[in-house]
Amino acid sequence: MLSTFHALETARRAMMTQQYALHTTGHNIANANTEGYTRQRVNFTQTESYPSVGRNSPSVPGNLGTGVKAGSVQRIREEFLDVQYRNETNKVGYWQTRNQALTKMEDILNEPSEQGLSQQIDLFWTALQDLSADSEDAGARSVVRQRAVAVAETFNFLHDSLTMIQNDYQNEIEIKRLEINSLLSQLDLVNEQIRKTEPHGYVTNDLYDEQDRLLDQLSNLVNIQVQRVASVGNTNPAAEGAVTVTLIDDQGKPVQNEAGQPINLVDGTGASERAQFEIEFQPNAHFVTGFTVREGNGTGTNVLNTLPRGEMKALIEAYGYGTSPEDVTGVYPNMLKELNSMAEVFATEMNNIHSIGFTLADQNGVVHRGGDLFDLSGVGQGVGAAKAIKLDSNIQASLNNIAASSVNINSIVSGQRQVYQDLVNAPRDQQYFSNIVDFLTTSSNFTTGAPTAFAGDGTNAKRLADVKDTTLSFSNDSGTISTYYQGVIGDMAVSTQEAGRMMNSSLSLQDSVEYRRQSVSNVSLDEEMTMMIQYQHAYNAAARNITMVDEMLDRIINGMGVVGR
């Protein structure tokens, strides 16, 4: 037999449940602009109908409904899109950072422009040309000196600026490492909370959101794979479980530790504690020597060579990594290597040629063989030529010491003149310059015991100018200083362009995945408003239902048995 108040209970349940839904709507609206928030829906379920199925159930007609209840509050989210999104985020993290590193380098090298190294080399060349046409002129000489200083300083500037940025990357790597470790700790914490609450039948929607937010951030830094682990116990079907996060390489395969097992950064089963990243720098030279994941059980695996893609990889690549100073690779170390090689080869060739020329006469009217034009004495022990190169102190001391002239051929004893010519015209091998120097320092070769030279002879200045068009051999390749530098800039520009293009394409892919993800999970205010109206009406209707029952009861209680009164 039905209770008299059955309908009241049904209406009360309806009001409660509609209110529950209205609260959820309010929660949705409140979080409409929360990053990473997933809209929630109340799953309405009917309560058990009357009579319930059973042996002793009364035989009454029909199956009377008893109202509604809120079954669960569920996140509306598509996990497949998360996987896609994290994949793209990972690429964005890598290419964006790489692009940034290369763009900064591009800014420093600043080519083509009126300020770059190539312009300085061109200007130095014009100064030497002027000197060759006007070799006794102090003005032409001082321009050569200033332009030589400018070339040296440009090398110094490029080296210092690049090194400065490179050093910034060391700090950034350290900060990002701490960020990864902190993300892993947070994920572990969230996992623990989920593992503790889900067995009691709870659905921890806000924790799942937090979990997804953390995973999104982590995937930006390193490449990861996520697996859900269902909790044991009395779990709600809407429960999503804790996560196990695995490190994966570029091929999408899990990175393995020494035991051949995949490296679990966070373990959803709670078997071992979270992993942490460690990093080792070479203290003097600037490069990373080790990037180690230490798992919860204490096993450490160096993943420097199988570095998973992401922002971290781009940072380490920009900063440079390797096992010894000789085999360091990286965006910045490579460019510094090129600059060092260019500075050294160029300065050495200039010095060689300068040493076979002759200076202006000193106060005693004596000319001297040229010394060095550039000073490379600071090179060595991790200090490259681009940093160490400067103008030689003798040139700094006196303009006369610029060796613009060749030896006066008439001061050579007549039998040796052809020998000298042959030496000068010989192919430029390693011996070339020292052969000429040997000849010039042998006093018996000269009528007056020492070579002489004329102030108006600018042939050695011309030879110095010709270095611009001389094929030199650099660390990676050979070419003239200009063409080699053009190649270096070209390589850098192509890498930057590639990084920029990859960044843009991964960004737009990320955008489109994000769009689809939001399309599923984002709060639509219009929708929430509509539903609010819907729930409100249902709530009102349920209230009306109570009024109706009230009127019915009023009839039964107050209006019955008062016949005719």
């Binding site: 083509p112 002879d457 639509s524």
Partner: protein, 397 residues
């Protein structure tokens, strides 16, 4: 597909951002006039840009070198022109003096003018261009004609017991320079400098060498091969011998006029060097000054007859010819430099055009891009403003 407010505002923000990016790029192009502002925007343009800029710098430098070359050659040409006029004036004066109506005093006055003209020639030989002696090869800091006192040491200098270094002494006679080759019985033998064979001491020397002999008493004998010598004619002499007056030979220090013969070269095109100086030894030579001094002495000699001066006039003609020839050679070189200049100017235009084509922005295109982008950007702004503003709440009352 569900689309929410947040999605709308995010995407319109993204679109606006992209619009700004494009506008910034167009602004860069308009402000700098260049297609690219960083190498990565177009690596090929950047690399080529570096090469073309370098080419333009080179052409500009060669133009500077060119003006240096013109400077030298113009100055040299002007100096040679003046020197020729001086010599012509000397010739006129000598022709005038060769007339026997002039008495010794008149000739002495003419000699004075010739002396002045000679000094002018000396200063022409020491012509400077922007602080450089242009007639002294690569030795531009010293004057080619240094100590003019050394031009005429006098025959007695040879006979002086203290003189031992004869290699630094030259004797000038009739347009020729003679150098010391040996001593015989106290007599000094000098051979024509331009004649290298026969060598002193060889059998043919006595019969074939053009030479001067200065005896200890100061008597000068000139000997030269007889051009009309006929071996079959027993009367014809193989050797001509003249006795020369002491005042008609000039004994000079060999270093009086510098003999730096090294060319001053300037690069005018990549790998093309052109010598820009002329060899001073060819024009302002010891012979020239020696011969003029000889002329002066002859004019001062009261015993001189008019007809005797004819050989001096011929002599001057010879020197004028040397100057004219040298100027012609210089003129030819100026022509060559002018041709190089033409090529250089053409190259300059080309290099600048190629550079411009490579890296300069096409303004019309950029401005049209700007207009298009501006329109798109305005549309994005106004559509954003229209879409984001109204919500359902505005209509729910």
């Amino acid at each position: 597909m569900r689309v929410t407010q947040m999605m709308l505002s995010q995407s319109s923000l993204r679109n606006l951002n992209q619009g700004y990016n494009r506008l910034a790029q167009i602004q860069d192009q308009l402000a700098t006039g260049k297609k690219i502002t960083r190498a990565s925007q177009d690596p090929v343009v950047a690399m080529k840009g570096m090469r073309y800029r370098s080419q333009v710098t080179e052409v500009e430098q060669f133009k500077r070198n060119l003006s240096e070359a013109y400077n030298w050659m113009d100055t040299a040409d002007a100096a040679l022109d003046q020197a020729t006029q001086v010599l012509q004036r000397m010739r006129e004066l000598t022709t005038q003096a060769a007339n026997d109506t002039n008495n010794a005093e008149d000739r002495a006055n003419i000699a004075k003018e010739v002396k002045q003209l000679r000094e002018h020639l000396e200063s022409l030989g020491n012509t400077k261009n922007s602080n450089k002696y242009i007639f002294n090869g690569t030795d531009t800091t010293t004057a080619p004609i240094k100590n003019t006192n050394n031009m005429d040491l006098g025959v007695t200098a040879l006979l002086n017991e203290t003189t031992t270094d004869f290699s630094s002494i030259e004797v000038i006679y009739n347009g020729k320079t003679f150098q010391h080759v040996g001593t015989e019985n106290g007599s000094h033998i000098f051979q024509d400098k331009s004649q290298t064979s026969p060598e002193y001491g060889s059998d043919a020397f006595a019969s074939e060498a053009t030479r001067l002999t200065i005896s200890p008493s100061g008597a000068v004998t000139f000997q030269a091969r007889n051009q009309d010598y006929n071996a079959n004619d027993p009367t014809s002499q193989q050797q001509l011998t003249n006795s020369v007056s002491q005042r008609d030979v000039i004994v000079a220090n060999a270093n009086t006029v510098s003999i730096n013969t090294q060319a001053v070269e300037v690069e005018l095109l990549k790998g093309v060097t052109v010598p820009i100086n002329i060899n001073a030894g060819d024009v302002f030579s010891t012979e020239l000054f020696g011969d003029i001094i000889r002329l002066e002495r002859a004019l001062e000699d009261p015993k001189m007859k008019g007809t005797d001066l004819t050989s001096y006039i011929d002599n001057l003609f010879g020197h004028i010819n040397t100057f004219v020839a040298e100027r012609a050679e210089l003129g030819a070189r100026v022509n060559r430099v002018q041709m190089i200049e033409n090529r250089l100017l053409e190259q300059e235009v080309n290099a600048n055009r190629i550079m411009s084509e490579n890296e300069d922005a096409d303004l019309e295109k950029v401005i049209i891009d700007l207009m298009t982008q501006e329109t798109v950007h305005r549309a994005a702004l106004s559509s954003g403003a229209r879409i984001i503003q109204p919500t359902l709440m505005d209509f729910l009352r």
